[in-house]
Amino acid sequence: MKWDEFFVTGDPFIYAADVSIVLTTIAIVFVLTYYKKWKWLWSEWLTTVDHKKIGIMYIIAAVLMLFRGGVDALLMRAQITAPGSEILKSQHYNEIFTTHGTIMIIFMAMPFLIGLINFVVPLQIGARDVAYPYLNAVSFWTFFFGAMLFNISFVIGGSPSAGWTSYVPLAGDELNPEPGQNYYLLGLQISGIGTLLTGINFLVTILKMRAPGMNLMRMPMFTWSTLITMLLIIFAFPVLTVALALMTFDRLFGSHFFTLADGGIPMLWANLFWIWGHPEVYIVILPAFGIFSEIISTFARKTLFGYKAMVWSMVSIAGLSFIVWVHHFFTMGANAVVNSFFSITTMAIAIPTGVKIFNWLFTLYKGRIKITSAMLWSLAFIPNFTIGGVTGVMLAMAAADYQYHNTYFLVAHFHYVLISGTVFACFAGLYFWYPKMFGHKLHERIGKWSFWLFMIGFNVCFFPMYFLGLNGMPRRIFTYEWADGWFDLNMVATTGAIGMAIGFVLLVYNIYWSFRYAERETMGDPWDGRTLEWSTPTPVPFYNFAKIPEVTGLDAYSRMKRDPVKDIKKDYKPIHMPSYSGKPIIMSIALFISGFGLVFEWWWMAIAGLIGVLAMLVLRSFDYDDGYYVSVEEIERIENSIE
């Protein structure tokens, strides 16, 4: 292989990216060396098994990915604004929308939510960590290195370009022989392992590690949404794993699962992809529902309206999500019975979703609504998500979908639900739990500016796309003609995208500003919270709770505040905690190396990497470190220093 086949060449954007990657790497290495932080980084963060630190690392990675996916989005909007523009070539545009979609769903939305889940859920249920802390670190590092593998594709070897859905035969070896698609398969495969492990880990955590008295129907709504999400992950992700493996076999070893020749069935990929892909949509929306429930209830100062109905709605949404996947290809020529069935099941999802919308509205009823930044994002969710939801019902009507399918109408719909659902929830959750994570709030006024710019920008960007779709504009085209008449609305959409970008920059600036200047929190409960995470001091001690709380009902911490139990005697017991370990990160690096080898079909490297993975698994199985006990004196010392 020649160097110019290995490194992507010939595009000024790529050269700029090369330079910035090198400069950033040098800067990071320099800062870490200059301030002598290498050891701190290794022993405090890279080897950590503390769910709080893992959660924070997930969120940092997700924000970086949001930036990457956002730059992709802006490049697309720049190209598509005016007809016939030549900012990007067709192939480059195709690579960008492919990475935009994949990154936003797999490497931004899911990790952001899993980050919040990691940080919050053990605290919400009164646990000291997750059920399998070591496994949790494995999950994070496989996600991280899977994401890294996917991300380097655009400077080394070329990005995948067959869309995030990677339909064969387009994504197959025959029509797409470049290594880009291998990056997609292996990047998703490696990070998918982590997601599946997270699913198992949190399912067990929530089922087994709740504080005494917290039965299922007393769990906070965010914990409930997490529990259901984890079930979805456990049922859906194995399908993705198998589908990716089959396509990898097709591409690397010449098998014929999805090929055109020798009896392969291309449509099998579309089915497998969406049998995973549709539940995936709910994997990124249900935790968002949980976050909004917590925030709306907290700032309306009321118990969530219709708790049981909320739980059952989520359960039925989760169940329905597995029997609607064909609505992604109503136009596949299936007969009327099939399309009618999937049309009706899809529309049926609107029923539990509608119930939830009204329950949130009635949580506000007779409340005393405090409009903080976190609450602004949550409130904005209601009307915006409704627009996304009703257009979803329109898409569900198969006969009409023949006209919307593959158009900007669809693009508008799923951005309306994913941004006003998932992204708003990520931001809301970040503002809400930020003081618990970092010991200071984010600045409210910068936060509100950021909100309004982003929220208005979002509507200006995506609302016109409904009309573009009805006017015949298909998605994924890199250019069009003046005669098509799509210029005006595209121009408007691009203006909106710029608004969103400024909103995002302000959010990042807010993090910087607040880190430097915001007032430090001394209390653990800045928002008058209702659930157990607010009962811990800030910063949260590494063992979370010196004494595990007793739960007597819904909104456990509100109850404690209303009827405080006089707890004078502090008879602490030693706390068992797991040891940190470097093995998860080393194993994930080995997986990364192996994946990189497979991308270029360098078998020696792939095998070397796998041997590394195996070595780490063997080492772990002979690891007799069962953790350690925190002594009573140590706990007393820490608890006293907090008060």
Binding site: A162, Y167, L260, A300, I351, Y365, M394, M397, A400, Y402
Partner: protein, 297 residues
């Protein structure tokens, strides 16, 4: 927010007639437009209800200095209310499901008004990144342009030589996938002569944006005349020329032939024909060739 919505509604109503999908020129697209307009009506109602409630809640129950001491009631729900807002979406879903299913079934058949007429059969084959239209009854073939008679159902038999595409002519009706090794059917019809835009709507890679074609709907006489002229004056399509077409990338010119490729290949039965041709292999010597009848050509 309300201002925004009313603005949207005004834009919508005033702009409707200019949007391709809502400006149908045939019975298929018309049925779909009717269904879309019905759903828009229901959806605007839902949006309105939610927005009014939402505005009321946040204006009325907002924290103000004068209600700073107010302690909200900690009620956990209301069975009656929850049953009401479960029942309403159920009714709406039923109200939409019935016409949807009816239309799904209706679209499987030729349009009612013209169902007594024999449909014109056109094979539409997507080849990266071209459209090949075959008229088996007339024994003619076109590339990247389509002629149809007005007021007569057109039965498209869709397939693809390689990646998955979707034939879409918004003003005549919705799309259907073209898939290699398979044949899907789609009825469309134009009620009046005119030129309409058709294209591939499903992403097929580099040349995707330009994989489009012009549809010329003509009166019966003009269409017949065009067919006759084509038969007489257009060159014959040879397999050699056809194989060349399989290999040409980013080809957007219009071509017309007085014979069809169905004589030697049906892509719905021989999925890997184009792939083999591009690799320089002889596709007719394929041991997995399922196309029994045309094997020897």
């Amino acid at each position: 927010m309300l201002g925004f919505i009313s603005l949207v509604i005004i834009t919508f109503i005033s702009g409707c007639s200019e949007l391709a999908v809502l400006d149908p020129k045939g019975p298929v697209a018309l049925q779909q437009k009717d269904l879309i307009m019905l759903s828009i009506g229901f959806m605007l109602f839902i949006v309105l209800v939610v927005f009014v409630l939402f505005t009321f809640m946040i204006v009325r129950y907002r924290e103000r200095p004068e209600n700073a001491d107010y302690e909200p009631p900690q009620d956990e729900g209301s069975k009656v209310l929850e049953i009401i807002w479960t029942a309403i979406p159920v009714l709406i879903v039923i109200a939409l499901a019935v016409p949807t299913v009816k239309t799904i079934y209706a679209l499987q058949e030729p349009p009612k008004a013209t169902s007594h007429k024999d449909p014109v059969v056109v094979h539409a084959t997507s080849v990266d990144w071209k459209w090949i239209f075959t008229y088996p009854e007339e024994n003619i073939e076109t590339v990247n342009h389509l002629h149809i008679p007005e007021d007569r159902p057109i039965l498209f038999k869709l397939t693809s030589a390689d990646s998955m595409a979707a034939l879409w002519i918004p003003q005549l009706g919705g799309q259907e996938y073209n898939m290699a090794g398979m044949e899907t059917e789609l009825y469309l019809q134009a009620d009046e002569p005119g030129t309409y835009k058709g294209r591939n709507a499903n992403f097929t890679g580099e040349g995707f944006a330009n994989q489009k074609f012009i549809v010329k709907a003509q009166t019966r006489e003009n269409y017949k005349k065009w067919v006759q002229e084509t038969k007489e004056s257009a060159p014959k399509l040879t397999q050699e020329k056809y194989n060349e077409l399989m290999k040409m990338k980013l080809f957007t010119e219009k071509l017309t032939f007085s014979s069809t490729h169905l004589e030697w290949v049906d892509h719905a039965k021989q999925a890997d024909y184009a792939v083999k041709v591009r690799k320089g292999l002889d596709p007719s010597k394929d041991k997995h060739n399922h196309n029994d009848s045309h094997e020897s050509h």
